[in-house]
């Protein structure tokens, strides 16, 4: 049985059913199809996982020959090894949970069927991305998830701001995709194949391929920066929060944004031969982690804090990739999927219970009112802050260790910046927790009156995810992945520091907690004082380092100018419209002239005819 094809096609069937029939058959049908097919896909994945476990080597399945050009064949083939197995489990597992959660969250939305159709479509493309054997299939999924992300960010497209956020995400991703495409072309040109396993083998083989691994690596990494919101293409992700909250949880936290990490990890054979590209990845990763964390310190929108936190955590993952610890990066993808999905869904539950309020300055005191949300949110917060023994502790600690000691580019500087970022992470996450749930209420009476715990369909998912965030770290993914992605050597001289570093990391997490508690325990008063004292820094951070403004000035405005002046006025209006109008005017003018010949006088016509005859006779006489 074609199990892998089945996994991919189930969500597509959901998309078609919900998209075509959903609006007619009602919400019951939509929920059943929308949640049922992803769950079936999850079960199928579990089954495939068992097979993989039994077989011991990757399952390969060719389901369709897309194109055969001469000797070159492009197959739609699926590849199921330990890495893609894990990713598929995350995608279908967390995806199914979020589908279930959505039945509660989107219950009253008018476009219920459209929502589930899009969500299933997303799942289809995401599975294509992680299961595809070749870069080409992966790219189709890559573009497809971009499309689904666009559709879901702009889900409430009646609001022009939300529609614009969708466009921004799409266009920013397009920049990265150009890099991806170029990298793919180069690889195909040099190797004649795009299959991941073949590419890795070629770069690990005795004869070096006739292409620079660093160049290809950098180009593909540009693609990854687009999808995974790394500097300089990170600007779309915070705006992407305009979509429904479960979408933010699924696409913009747990799965799609980790596609870049997956891509680099998948091509580890290539990146092992590209120390330059790897170094770039590490630096970009750690810089993104740090800057996003500083921005998150001052955000007041609950989802924006989480969005910047996501960017920051993705930076951690790229740091791990950059120092060669591919398995550790995927480990963080895995733990991050749990606690960040839990945080986003918890935020969704908060927003739901407050009737749409997202500003944490107008929250507070929710711990008693919505206890399930509070507890799960607190667990996930502790997990992302890296407190033991929760999931985030294990993965982040491994990243910090490899950033410090890896022989593939680890350095104390990377470790120091990453540790500082971890401190900031702990601080802003506990700030969020305290301001939302613990401080005295700052809600207005009307909102306060309506606060209610979310329905079971939502809280149950929160509980599952909180449990996974708590215990997920005990499954050491990087050891499981060791056969496909060996861990880098670490410096033996530093090994005695491993335990002190762990202790230090825990201390950092607790320090963040203590600092946040100190500043925010009494509400916003102390924070206000700090804000006044560091007004300049605060403005810089809440302006998000003015990157959007910079892009607007450097790219947006010149582009606008060129479009307006060159393409519209010169090209469109002057050249194209101008030449057509000119032709029309010429025809009109010459018609006006010639029209005067038509005097209506018969005798004049005869004269003209005679003139013509005489002229042609004369011409014939002269030319024999």
């Amino acid at each position: 049985m074609n199990l892998l094809t089945l996994i991919v096609l189930l969500p597509l069937a959901g998309f078609l059913l919900n998209g075509l029939l959903g609006p007619r058959l009602g919400k019951g049908f939509v929920s059943l199809v929308g949640c049922g097919l992803p769950i079936l896909a999850f079960l199928a994945t579990v089954r495939a996982f068992m097979q993989l476990h039994g077989a011991g080597e990757a399952l390969v399945e060719t389901s369709y020959t897309w194109a055969a050009v001469g000797d070159f064949k492009f197959d739609v083939a699926f590849y199921f090894d330990r890495l893609s197995a894990l990713m598929t489990l995350i995608v279908t597992g967390v995806g199914s949970l979020i589908h279930v959660y959505s039945t509660g969250y989107m219950k009253d939305d008018a476009s219920y069927a459209r929502y589930f159709a899009y969500l299933n479509l997303f799942l289809f493309f995401m599975l294509l991305l992680v299961l595809g054997r070749s870069l080409l299939v992966c790219f189709v999924g890559w573009e497809g998830v971009g499309l689904a992300s666009y559709l879901l960010i702009g889900f409430w497209f009646e609001d022009p701001e939300k529609a614009a956020a969708g466009k921004k995400a799409f266009i920013t991703n397009r920049v990265g995709d150009a890099g991806f495409l170029l990298g793919m072309f180069l690889l195909y040109h040099a190797l004649g194949t795009l299959d991941f396993d073949a590419v890795n083998a070629a770069f690990q083989g005795p004869v070096a391929p006739a292409v620079s691994a660093s160049l290809v690596g950098v180009l593909l990494f540009i693609g990854a920066t687009g999808k995974s919101a790394q500097i300089p293409l990170h600007v779309w992700l915070p705006d992407a929060m305009a979509g429904p909250t479960p979408v933010s949880a699924l696409i913009h936290a747990a799965t799609m944004v980790t596609a870049g990490v997956y891509l680099v990890a998948r091509l580890n054979g290539l990146y092992l031969q590209a120390p330059g590209a790897s170094q770039l990845i590490a630096v970009v990763g750690v810089a993104t982690a740090f800057f996003a964390a500083t921005i998150a310190l001052v955000q007041t929108d609950i989802k924006k804090v989480l969005a910047y936190s996501t960017i920051s955590q993705l930076g951690f993952m790229f740091l791990a990739l950059g120092v060669g610890a591919y398995g550790v990066a995927v480990f963080h993808v895995y733990t991050h999927a749990f606690f960040k999905a839990c945080l986003f869904l918890g935020a969704g539950s908060v927003i739901h219970s407050l009737g749409g309020e997202q500003d944490i300055r107008r929250m507070g005191g929710l711990a008693r009112r919505i206890p399930v949300t509070f507890v799960t949110f607190a667990v996930a917060t502790a997990a992302i802050a890296g407190l033991p023994p929760l999931a985030g502790f294990f993965s982040k600690d491994e990243i910090l260790w490899f950033a410090f000691a890896s022989e593939r580019g680890g350095s104390p500087i990377l470790w120091a910046v990453a540790s500082l970022t971890a401190l900031l992470t702990s601080f802003y996450m506990f700030r969020l927790l305290i301001l939302t749930f613990l401080t005295p209420s700052r809600m207005d009476a009307h909102t306060e009156h309506h606060v209610h715990e979310s329905p079971f369909s939502m809280t149950s998912v929160l509980i599952v995810l909180a449990v996974l965030s708590a215990i997920g770290g005990f499954f050491h993914v990087y050891l499981f992945l060791e056969p496909v992605m060996p861990l880098p050597e670490t410096d033996h001289a530093l090994e005695h520091l491993e335990l002190p570093l762990v202790v230090f990391a825990v201390a950092i997490g607790l320090a963040g907690l203590a600092a946040a508690a100190y500043v925010y325990r009494g509400g916003l008063g102390r924070a206000g004082q700090l804000q006044r004292r560091f007004a300049g820094a605060h403005r810089l951070l809440s302006g998000k380092y003015y990157v959007d403004e910079l892009y607007e000035a450097v790219l947006g405005r010149p582009l606008h100018w060129i479009s307006e002046r060159v393409f519209l006025r010169l090209g469109d209006r002057m050249l194209i419209d101008g030449s057509l109008h000119g032709l029309a005017a010429l025809a009109q003018r010459s018609a006006g002239r010639l029209g005067r010949v038509e005097t209506g006088s018969l005798q004049f016509y005869v004269w003209l005819a005679v003139l013509g005859v005489v002229a042609s006779l004369a011409w014939m006489w002269r030319h024999g």
Binding site: T599, G600, S601, V606, W607
Partner: protein, 100 residues
Amino acid sequence: MDRTQLMLALSVTLFALGFVGVMVRRNALVLLMCMELMLNGVILSLVTFAGRSATLDGAVLVFLVFVVAAAEIAIAIPIVLLLARQRGTLDVTAYSELKG
């Protein structure tokens, strides 16, 4: 001047008379008659040359032209009659709707 030249001179005269008539007269019926005159001038030259070359082709062509001319007149006269009935005049300068 032999006979051929005489005939040709006659044909040219007929043609010229018709041509001048077409140019200077305003009456639509007279114009038609002048056109017939021009046509007959041409046919006369045709007959003359046909006789000289002693073949039947010219004579056949003459009959063809006669048929065409008769058909043309059969259409032209009713048109002129309709025009005259509509406008109450045969002056061609009155018919200048197609003036550009």
